[in-house]
């Protein structure tokens, strides 16, 4: 039987506010335990929450960015459960009336197609603290620095069918929140966290299968692995006559397996009810309108512009717009060299590979966009070949100067002078008379392939600097 995978994601995004969602404590990571924890964060008796307006603003902007309904009246509720790093014994969150209603996120796939993923809603809530189990001699330590950090939880509909789609969706959310500058979106730091709801069903069946919720997926890479391993588990289970149990499962990246955490049947009854300490938050038309008007150009719009203005493929455009810095980098390089396609190629292939290899982000890239643009321009004007360009590129990466400086200093400028090239061609033809005869006796359809040998020899003599077009032309003439 063939199976269809159904995936929905719940993404928690920490907002980059200065202070916490309900207290004035700083949101600032890496500090000593409990130094960013006030009486409110400690849930001291008698303390009360006050909503951080900036968190409301950021959530509103996210909603507008995904073209969602903004609920101008939203309500905070208490989600009740006991846990040592949850100081009040309830999490203040939104349920029935979240700030962001249904919306759409469009994802671009590698095959050039796009797909709309529906967003069920996104709500604001507070993060919990952290329980520390090491170095406490069998006891546990509680660090409440993180408690009260504002989060938006983005809940998608089960609209994704492959892990690739899930990753594309996650990347698109990442792009949106970083464009809006409302979050660092660092999965490794936990400022963006992803839970995946995964189920399988026989191909063609409409009814959804029983889902499991995968937790602890803390990198883009693991999204694919975790979903794949869980899908395999579910299919094996069903094909062996078993049934999938609705439960939360933990993804173990080291063992590449999912493990049952707790079963929903024995899960808490969270007893949600509206928080009486907080009034419903009401956003005015003017506020929403002003936020809408001040949105930056968003990934989808930028993608469309890159396709229309720069003539890029939809896929390249989606890769280049995954974060604002990359998009800006590309645009600067393209503008400098005047060739968007070449610029896109260099950014998505050579530059991306080096950045990846060195585990660097675009903002830490040692080659400035202007320098890359200058180098591409030199390719275009025939000063250097594509092959030489790679040498120049590596030298720029190593900090040896601008493209022009390196070309100058290393004497890498392409030889296009026909006299010089003719001399080199003559030298090659003289040294390889047997091959010359073979070529001349060969059938015309075999000749182009055989020409490559001579071109290679000439390029070798010229140390790669001969203009390949010129070499080809003169070789053909002489042969």
């Amino acid at each position: 039987m063939s199976w269809e995978t159904v995936i929905g994601l719940e993404i928690h995004v920490q907002l980059k506010t200065k202070s916490k969602i309900f207290s004035g404590s700083a949101v600032d990571f890496g500090q000593d335990p409990n130094t960013n924890a006030s009486a409110i964060d400690l849930a001291m008796p008698g303390t009360l929450p006050v909503v951080n307006a900036e968190a409301m603003r950021m959530a509103t902007r996210f909603g507008l960015a995904i073209d969602a309904t903004i609920n101008q009246k939203s309500v905070f509720e208490r989600k009740n459960y006991f846990y040592p790093d949850l100081p009040k014994g309830y999490q203040t969150t939104q349920l029935a009336e979240p700030i962001v209603g249904p919306g759409i996120v469009t994802i671009q796939l590698e095959n050039g197609t796009s797909k709309d993923v529906r967003i069920h809603h996104a709500h604001l809530e507070e993060d919990a603290g952290k329980s520390l189990h090491e170095d406490f001699h069998g006891m546990s330590g509680i660090d409440l620095n993180r408690a009260g950090t504002p989060l938006i939880e983005i809940v998608s509909e089960p609209d994704m069918r492959t892990p690739e789609e899930a990753i594309a969706f996650l990347r698109q959310i990442h792009a949106i929140i970083t464009y809006l500058d409302i979050s660092d979106g660092e999965m490794s730091q936990g400022s963006m966290r992803c839970d995946a709801n995964v189920s399988v069903r026989p191909m063609g069946q409409e009814e959804l299968g029983t889902r499991t919720e995968l937790k602890n997926i803390n990198s883009f890479r693991f999204v694919e692995r975790a979903i794949n391993v869980e899908v395999e588990r579910q299919i094996d289970l069903i094909e062996d006559g078993g049934k999938v149990v609705q439960e939360t499962r933990l993804y173990d990246a080291d063992k590449n397996e999912t493990r049952s955490m707790r079963s929903k049947e024995v899960a808490n009854d969270y007893r949600y009810f509206p928080c009486p300490d907080l009034l419903p938050v009401v956003l005015s038309d003017e506020f929403v309108q002003a936020e809408r008007e001040s949105l930056p150009e968003l990934p989808v719009a930028k993608q469309a512009r890159f396709v229309n203005e720069h003539g890029l493929s939809a896929y390249d455009a989606s890769i280049l717009t995954q974060n604002r810095e990359t998009a800006d980098y590309f645009e600067t390089a393209a503008k400098t060299c005047g060739d968007s396609k070449l610029a896109a190629n260099w950014v998505t292939v050579e530059l991306a590979a080096l950045l990846n290899k060195n585990d660097l982000g675009i903002s830490d890239c040692p080659i400035s966009a202007e320098n890359l643009g200058q180098m591409i321009q030199r390719i275009k004007d025939g000063s250097i070949s594509g092959k030489i360009a790679k040498t120049v590129f590596e030298a720029m990466w190593n900090g040896e100067g601008s493209a022009n400086e390196i070309i100058e200093a290393k004497g890498l400028k392409q030889v296009s002078d026909s006299g010089a090239i003719e001399a080199m061609v003559d030298e090659v033809l003289a040294a390889n008379s047997q091959q010359v005869d073979n070529y001349r006796n060969a059938a015309p359809d075999k000749q182009p392939k055989m020409l490559g040998f001579f071109v290679g020899q000439v390029m070798k003599i010229s140390k790669g600097q001969a203009n390949p077009g010129e070499v080809n032309r003169i070789l053909k003439e002489k042969l």
Binding site: V51, F82, F273, P276
Partner: protein
């Protein structure tokens, strides 16, 4: 000295008849002599009170006195006061020292008032008799065999016994008005949002409201003046101008329309109390007011509605008392669950546990719609009743309680009977309205209270109506014999 009004004390201080240190010492002496018989105080603050009194005397000498500068008072032990034990009447917080001041505490410090100590209360303000306190029951100074009411029984008994001229209190379902009624004093629950809840340990957040207790409306006006403020730290605090509550105390009541809800004179009301309240209403007619019959048809649903909503909120509000960060933690927990269970089992008393259970139940999956949501809807109906009534009347008058103070233990075995103590007061909290109790008579030497209910933010009118009644009658001037039962008074015999 201890029978003086706040205004009289203030005058005495400014005229130099006595100092703040002297009057503070006078009240502290009385507390040390008498409080062991009524247990109104959980914590006595002699040292800090005298230090503050010294400061107050300097301020008075410098001519910088406010109306409350140098005036002694007591705080209900529900308000967090920095560096002071704040127990909320619970073993859970037996040793809890607050790291910060409640806004009410800060406001009164700012006003220059002298805190004598912190008063006893039903545990976490849950009760109508102060019998649920972990620190022992408080006795009603009018009859030491009876309860002072609750939950602000300590504050009410302290004022009645002249162990403090005025005291702070809180009212979630009647916890200011019912003990005021039972102890023969005056107490006002302001409009919800008038006094900041910051630092006031929460019972039911949507109804909790702090207010003043005193011997008279005039004293309550002065204390409310200092307590009330808009507070950005409390999201439910309302940014509404704080008027001069003393300014209109003497305004004539000519033409005042007083609503009399028939439902508050029906079933369960002691006929003797009904008679006393009718006498008070007749007094208002003499003062020029008109009595108008009104209906509050949904008021019969107030007690059941309250006992769904208040426990629901409380069940979440009390979750923070988990033994993790502060408060009672059991000995040698075997694991986390054991720590939670035993810390809460040992730290909370029976009534608190009962309400946590009720609240947890009504919020549970499958019961939420039938209980919590329904109760919220009824709450709206109750509020609508008042809105309609206030279209025809300026103020509403009723008995505060169905009976006078009852004997210890009389209602402890039957929680529902205890809950019915608040039958006339609870709907006011559900509607967020201001309400007051003032003494209007006595039955067999025990005080009877009259309740006045106003429109939102109409505290001034309530205080005015109460003050005019107190100008015309002297029920509020009566003190229990216990108040004069000091060694001073007995001095001649020794």
């Amino acid at each position: 000295m201890h029978n003086l009004s706040v205004a009289q004390i203030s005058q005495g201080l400014s005229k130099g008849e006595f100092s703040s240190v002297e009057i503070t010492q006078h009240f502290l002496d009385r507390i040390h002599q008498l409080d062991s018989s009524i247990n109104a105080y959980i914590t006595k603050l002699d040292e800090s009170a005298l230090a503050a009194a010294q400061q107050a005397d300097k301020q008075i000498a410098a001519g910088q006195a406010n109306p409350l500068t140098g005036i002694p008072f007591a705080h209900k032990d529900i308000f967090c006061a920095q560096g002071v034990k704040t127990t909320c009447g619970s073993r859970m917080l037996e040793n809890f020292i607050s790291p910060y001041d409640a806004t009410v505490v800060a406001n009164l410090k700012q006003a220059g008032a002298i805190c004598l100590g912190k008063t006893n209360m039903d545990e976490f303000a849950m009760g109508s008799s102060t019998e649920t306190s972990y620190f022992g029951k408080t006795m009603n100074p009018w009859d030491l065999e009876t309860v002072p009411g609750g939950s602000s029984g300590g504050s009410a008994a302290a004022v009645a016994a002249r162990l403090a001229p005025i005291a702070t209190a809180t009212d979630t379902g009647g916890s200011i008005r019912q003990p005021a009624s039972l102890c023969g004093i005056t107490g006002l629950k302001p409009t919800y949002g008038r006094v900041s809840r910051w630092g006031m340990i929460a019972f039911a957040s949507s109804m909790d409201q702090a207010g003043p207790m005193g011997k008279s409306a005039e004293d309550c006006a002065l204390l409310l003046q200092a307590m009330a403020s808009f507070d950005s730290k409390d999201s439910t605090s309302i940014d509404h101008l704080v008027p001069d509550y003393s300014a209109n105390l003497n305004a004539p009541l000519e033409g005042l329309r007083v609503g009399v809800p028939k439902e508050f004179f029906e079933q369960g009301l002691d006929p003797q109390i009904a008679a006393q309240v009718h006498n008070a209403l007749a007094e208002y007619e003499k003062l020029g007011a008109t009595l108008i019959d009104i209906e509050l048809p949904n008021s019969k649903l107030a007690v059941p509605t309250y006992y769904v909503l208040a426990p629901a909120e409380a069940s979440a509000n009390l979750s923070r008392f988990d033994g993790v960060r502060y408060g009672h933690r059991c000995e040698n927990p075997s694991d986390l669950m054991d720590m939670y269970c035993r810390s809460r089992e040992e730290g909370f008393g029976e009534e608190v546990k009962r309400r946590i259970m009720i609240g947890t139940y009504v919020l549970s999956a499958g019961y939420y719609d039938a209980y919590f949501r329904k109760a919220q809807q009824v709450r709206r109906l109750i509020k609508n009743d008042f809105d309609r009534a206030f279209e025809k009347v300026d103020i509403i008058a009723s008995p505060t309680c169905p009976s006078t103070a009852f004997k210890f233990g009389a209602k402890t075995d039957n929680p529902v009977e205890m809950y019915l103590e608040d039958i006339y007061t609870i709907s006011v909290n559900l509607a967020g309205l201001p309400g007051m109790s003032l003494p209007c008579g006595q039955i067999d030497g025990m005080p009877v209270g009259l309740q006045l209910i106003g429109k939102h933010f109409d505290e001034s009118l309530i205080l005015n109506a109460a003050h005019m009644f107190q100008q015309a009658t002297d029920w509020h001037t009566l003190a229990p014999a216990f108040a004069d039962n000091t060694s001073e008074a007995n001095g001649g015999a020794s």
